[in-house]
Symmetry: C2
Subunit: 197 residues, 2 copies
């Protein structure tokens, strides 16, 4: 083995060890991506919020899609009053009738998320359905990664939504894919209060 190769291997090993040590730091907030076509991407993020609140951690949420909808999670956390909650502007359409307004709303929502990530005030921030906003290119994956990188490192972030960008998955500490196992009657099941929203 050449000295050159040996030096390169040692350097790589040192980098890997540093990365592992960083991840083992219990104070470091992880970047988690929940993606896939199955159920559970958002609901497991809400479940993690419950755990974090159980440990008296500070939690913030930015929702990128469900601005107008009345959802169970929003009603619950509104009533609880312990989570900082932002939804994209009421004017958000997602029907591309006014794409410029949608882009502005998505970018404003992410600016809010970025401010929260940099503040150092939060143990956990959930950016719900942000992957959809990236998929439609209303916000760029580069901006999202730059925002994650500039965050206070104790802040954990969960990014949900199907079709997560590969570059984001590459950057994340953990990526979980939710898959619907095929079921003959799946298509017959309507969305239900409680289970689905």
């Amino acid at each position: 083995m050449s000295d050159d190769h040996k030096a390169k291997m040692q350097e790589r090993q040192a980098t890997q060890r540093a990365k592992v040590a960083e991840l083992q730091d219990p104070e470091k907030g992880l970047v988690l991506v929940h993606t896939g076509a199955g159920k559970g991407k958002s609901s497991s993020a809400f479940g993690v919020i419950v755990r974090a609140l159980g440990w008296k951690q500070k939690v913030g949420v930015v929702q990128f899609i469900k601005g107008k909808w009345k959802t169970g999670e929003r009603q619950f956390f509104d009533r609880l009053g312990e989570v900082t909650w932002h939804t994209m502007g009421e004017g958000f359409t997602w029907d591309t009738q006014d794409k410029d307004r949608d882009i502005a709303a998505a970018q404003a929502a992410f600016a809010k998320g970025r401010e929260m990530m940099e503040s150092g005030d939060y143990d956990l921030i959930v950016m719900d359905e942000i992957n959809i906003a990236m998929r439609y290119e209303y916000i760029s994956v580069e901006d999202v990664i730059a925002g994650l990188d500039a965050r206070d490192k104790r802040t954990g972030v969960i990014l949900t939504g199907r079709d997560a960008k590969p570059a984001l998955c590459e950057y994340a500490d953990l990526v979980t894919e939710m898959t619907e196992v095929k079921h003959p009657f799946k298509s017959g099941i309507k969305a239900q209060r409680g289970v689905d929203f």
Copy 2:
């Protein structure tokens, strides 16, 4: 096509239509299984609890593993005081030093779950990590299916834990598999408060 075959096909179609109609009934509680080796099986069940509480539904939980542990979810829901919460007996070991006691504890926990399912008092019941209890054959999948079948039909049930039995998945209305997308540093990450428990 023979008349015999035609009659059989018509019967099958009628059965399928009845099943679809039943699933479309918004009052019918679904049986959901969360399985797979990835994160999010229990946390998405807790997220669904949050949604259900947001809609003022009644929720019960039976936890089959984490009896002794201090978890974020339990601290949160204890403090909230809105969820009926049962954990398996404190004596539960899972280390097979006293297998008979473990079996008795698992069966007592399921008896509680069964009573709750039959009572008609709940919109949603979560049987957390029950799949593990079936995997170790501390309770039988036949008993669990019989219990689900005897439930008040408006009660939805979520059964979590890896290695869900095929017969249970067959019985369930929906099965979601959580898969950890491979990540080079995954093994370096320790379980964290808030995210993992």
